[in-house]
Structure formats: C-alpha cells, structure tokens
Symmetry: C2
Subunit: 337 residues, 2 copies
C-alpha cells in the first residue's frame, strides 16, 4: 500500500484537520466534530443545502461547500456513510429559517441516515428538510419500470445538482424552488465511467478489485462496483465512443439540445488524458448536433488513486444555463461566472 | 502502459485540441501552431509574460495563462522543450509595446531556446525581452559558490513566480519592475519533492525509473531526476519532517517570517493525502514560529501519473503578500483575491 499517510485509522481525521488549516477562512465545523463541515458564510433567509457521504472522493463531497454551492457536508470514513447525528449537527448549523435541502448520492447507507436526520430535524428542531437523491450512472440503470425506485448510482454528475441548486439558493429562491431545481438538474444529467486500476482503502490495505495489466472496465462505480463490460484497454477515442453511446440514448440527448459537459478524472489519470477525452466528447456531440454550453475538465469526484475517468452530460434549459453560469467560490471549485 | 490515449505521437496535439475546445473563450494559439498558446485577454501597454516547457506537467505550464497570471506559453512534447520559433511566435503575439518577460524553469533545453527566442525578438521584431530562470528545488542545490550559476531545478514553486509577476503586470508595472518581482518571488521560494512511483512517457512506453513496492525517493525531480535519498516508505509525518528540514534551513526561513505554502500532488497521489501533508507542514511551521499567510493544496505541477508530492514555501514581504492575494482567472487556477 503506497500511500502518504500515517495510521490508517487517523487518515480522515488528519485529512480534515488539513482542510480546516488550509481553508479555515471559508469552512469550519459544527458540534465540535470535524466530520461536520459547514460554510462560514451565512445569509439570513437563504435555504441551506447539505450533502454528505463517505470520504475518498475529494473534491466530492465537502469541497463544494462555499459561496454559490453548498452550506454544509457531513463526512464519513473512507467509502462509509456519516451518521444521522452528524447530518443533524450540520442541518442545525446551516438552517437560517428557510429550511434545508439535502442532496446526496443514491447509496443505501446515505439514504437511511439522511432520512433519519431529516426526521430528527423536523421533530426535534422544527427545521423543514427536503431531500433530493441524485443517481445518474447509466451503467447501473435497471430496466425502466414506472413508479419503481431509481437504481442508478450517484457519481460525478451530482456536481451539477450542487451547482444549480446552490446558485438557486444564492438567488434566494424558497425551499420548494431550490428542490425543484436540484431535481431538474439530477433528472437531466447522465454519467458513465471507466476504470483502469483499483484503489486501496487504507484500513483494508489491499486493492478493492483485481484487473489485468491490459484491461479496463467500462461502467465501474466509484467504489469499484461492477461495470458493464471488462475487456482489453482500447484507444481513447474508442473508449469514449463506447461510453457516449449509452449516455446519449439514455435521456435521450437529441439534436438541438444544449448541454454542459463534465470530464472527470478518478484520481491517477493525468489531466492531459482527460483533455484527450474532452476532444473526442466534443467531436461526438458535434456530429450529433448537440451544442456544448460549457465544459468542466478535471478531478470533480475521485476514488482515491483509481485510474480512470467519467463523462457526464447535463441537458440545459434557460434556467439551468443561468444557474450553471453563476459565480461560485468554494475551497475546491471557483468560477467567475 | 495503462493510459487513456490514442497514438502516443498524437498525445500532445490531441490534448491541446481538448484544451482549446474546453477553454476557447480564454485561450487561443498563435502562428497557426497549437503549441503556441496565448491568452485572449489583451491590454494595451501591459507587460506580456510568457512561459514554456515540456508537456506532462498540467496544470504547468499552459494552465496558468489568463487574467492576473501569464499571457502566453509555448508547449513541447512530453518532457521536451518547445522550439525557439514557437517561443518567438508567442512573444510576438503577446507583446503590446511594453516588452515581454520570460519566466521558465532551470533546464538546459529551455534556457537555450528561450535565449535564442529573446535574441530573435530583439533583432527581428524589436521587442524587448527580459528573462527570469526559476530554480528552487532544494534537492538539486549544488554547493553555494558566489557568482556561480544556480543548479537548482525549477519545479512547482514556479507557480509563485507566475502568480506574483502576473499580478504585478496586471497592476501595469513596467517590464523592469515585473522582472524584479519575478526574481524576488523566485529567490524566496524553495521546494522539495518525494516520489513513490514512476510515470510512463507515452512515446517511450515504459516506466521512467524503477522503485521498490515499499520504497520512496526524497528529492526526486519532476522528470524522475535522482533525488537525495531512497529508502523505505515512511509515515506521512516523518516524510514531511525529512522534507521540511532542508527547505527551512535553505534560505533560511526563520521565526517571525510569513510564508505562503504550496502542497502539490505529482499526479496519482490523492488530494486526501495532500491534506494530511498540509496538516503536518502547518504543525512544523507553527513550532518554528513561521506564520502562514495562505495555503495552496492540489495539483499545480505534475509528472503525468507519478505518485508523490512536493512542498514549497514562499517567504513573503508586504509586496509579495499583496501580489499573491490578487485575483486571478485562468483555465486551471482561479482566485477571488
């Protein structure tokens, strides 16, 4: 296990201490617990937005707490959900009377704990909480059954839900409207990933899965969940074609649509390779008559030192375009508009 | 070789095409050559700042072209210097009558070509060019001999020279003053790195060096240049202690100093680990009575998918503090001030 860490059991605490040291002007923590990260910027009457989830995905989740994005984030150990009590501590801290929206990924542990935290906030604290569960991974979509639960995992595309809902809250929209925006963004984003190497969870000390020296796995999840197809590593353009086809036909994205594109590195894959991917994504969208409003390229949702990347598309209308374009200033994501 | 690329010989061209697609609102290229990246923002009478160097280090070098930072960058193949002609094409494009400052790393190929480009700019184009060669890697410092050439390699700390000189040029300082600022920043920054794994140059197809599964190399350069000590991988806190001691005594940084800190990931090392490092850097500086004005943590100068990190300190005076704090907006680096 080749990592720059101390004792594995102290990894997340020490990482968080580093975050508060480096970004103490922007973020602090609630309830005396470093796992309960909150923004230092408060605005009376603004809807609070909280997220949360396991560690190991920086800048997801806590990196998006700041101006124009999120107000708080509860943080678990590597790939582990934080507790309902930690979520509640964040909720209490970020509520300014307008209620709180939870936006989090479609994982059972997170759903269970966020639901419990929402109930406690309501009963014990009289804070109104609404929730949006984001799940947009095309690889984990089950057969579409009306009324059935979304089976899609939440991966990098949740960034767009944060971005749009965060901008909506900054515009002082009320809770129901911020929720509507988050749901719209979550419903209009689709993602597909590819993994080349596993990562190692420090407490476990060995690779999360095995994969051949010349292999890739299309559709793998950010915790190493099984993908759609494992095979020989292909040239970049062919990998992108194989990933883009199911993304495009999922919603579907059609000629005349406008989208925002997110090319996301999973950890070890260099930024150079992500731009090679970006180029091919652009070519495919151009062929299909889909216009790109804005590109994001870089590490937005990682899996420790996993090599690989994901591609996300967000279908835009005028409202989402305005919200995507809004200014944001967090420790990990800054945009001038 | 596990990379998301097409043909190795097309890697850099395709990467650059991706950059122009994603950031075409901010950057374009000069002389019809994608290797000659220039800012789309122009301001009459502003000193132009150019850099350049081999590819494989994103966001170095080209990622820092934009508002409040650099105006142009010539880009070579992976770990290869761009040509003097490419540097000249950038120089011609970014000169607005106030002259051009070159800031680049202390590597022989770059020095040779930038010197030739400066001569051509002077003789053929009547553009005044000044140069600052940044070299701050403590591991490659030879014995200090007055009047002798600096042997230090330029690594991640060049970011601070870009930041301060870029802010000085944005304040409309004249060429001699912008050069003075760049020299001051370069003289007051020191860096030390550690590598855990090699990277693979695509055209070469094999690891740039070999290192044991349980080994690290302190002081290794960003092209795999030999470091100071190879040994068993230590806990993060011990690695940081071993790196910080020679950095601090080099200038030296002393009690009462104020510094900016850059913890830089070399490629595959997760952001989480970089924050564990940041925490220990902060502890050591606090013990020494050195105050931290600002932290930067993330990938600022990489070596493709190499695992490892570097630590840089910049000693600040009031002028450098103001310039470090100034706003910047480039494809890869954004700061609100």
């Amino acid at each position: 296990m080749k990592k720059i860490i101390n004792k594995p059991e102290n990894f997340i605490r020490e990482m968080l201490e580093g975050i508060y040291i480096a970004h103490g002007n922007m973020v602090g923590y609630a309830g005396g617990d470093v796992h309960c990260l909150v923004s230092k910027q408060k605005k009376a009457g603004k809807v609070g937005i909280a997220t949360g989830g396991g560690s190991g995905h920086l800048p997801l989740f806590l990196g998006y707490v700041g101006e124009g994005m999120l107000d708080g984030c509860s943080i678990g150990d590597v790939f582990q959900s934080p507790s309902a009590e930690q979520m509640l501590a964040v909720t209490k801290e970020i509520d300014s009377g307008a209620g709180v929206l939870y936006i989090y990924g479609n994982y059972n542990g997170d759903i269970f704990n966020f639901d419990m935290a929402a109930e406690m906030a309501d009963f014990e604290e009289d804070i109104r909480v609404e929730s949006v569960v984001a799940g947009e991974d095309v690889a984990s979509a089950g057969p579409a059954v009306p009324g059935e639960k979304n089976t899609r995992r939440g991966v990098a595309g949740i960034f767009f839900a944060y971005k749009c809902a965060g901008a909506a809250a900054a515009e002082m929209m009320p809770l129901d409207e911020v929720k509507r925006v988050a749901e719209k963004a979550a419903a209009n984003v689709r993602t597909m990933g590819v993994a080349l190497t596993p990562c190692i969870v420090p407490r476990v000390g060995k690779a999360s899965f095995e994969i051949g020296e010349d292999e890739m796995e299309i559709g793998m999840g950010i915790h190493g969940e099984t993908g759609i197809r494992r095979g020989k590593l292909l040239p970049a353009d062919e990998i992108v074609e194989e990933m883009m086809a199911p993304i495009i036909k999922d919603i579907p994205y059609v000629k005349g649509d406008e989208v925002a594109v997110l090319v996301n590195g999973l950890g070890a894959t260099p930024l150079e390779e992500q731009y090679v991917v970006c180029r091919k994504v652009s070519n495919i969208l151009e062929e299909q008559g889909i216009k790109v409003h804005r590109y994001y390229v870089g590490e937005y949702a990682t899996s420790l030192e996993m090599a690989g990347m994901s591609i996300s598309l967000l279908k835009l209308d005028d409202e989402l375009k305005r919200l995507v374009d809004a200014q944001a200033n967090t420790p990990f994501f800054k945009q001038f508009g």
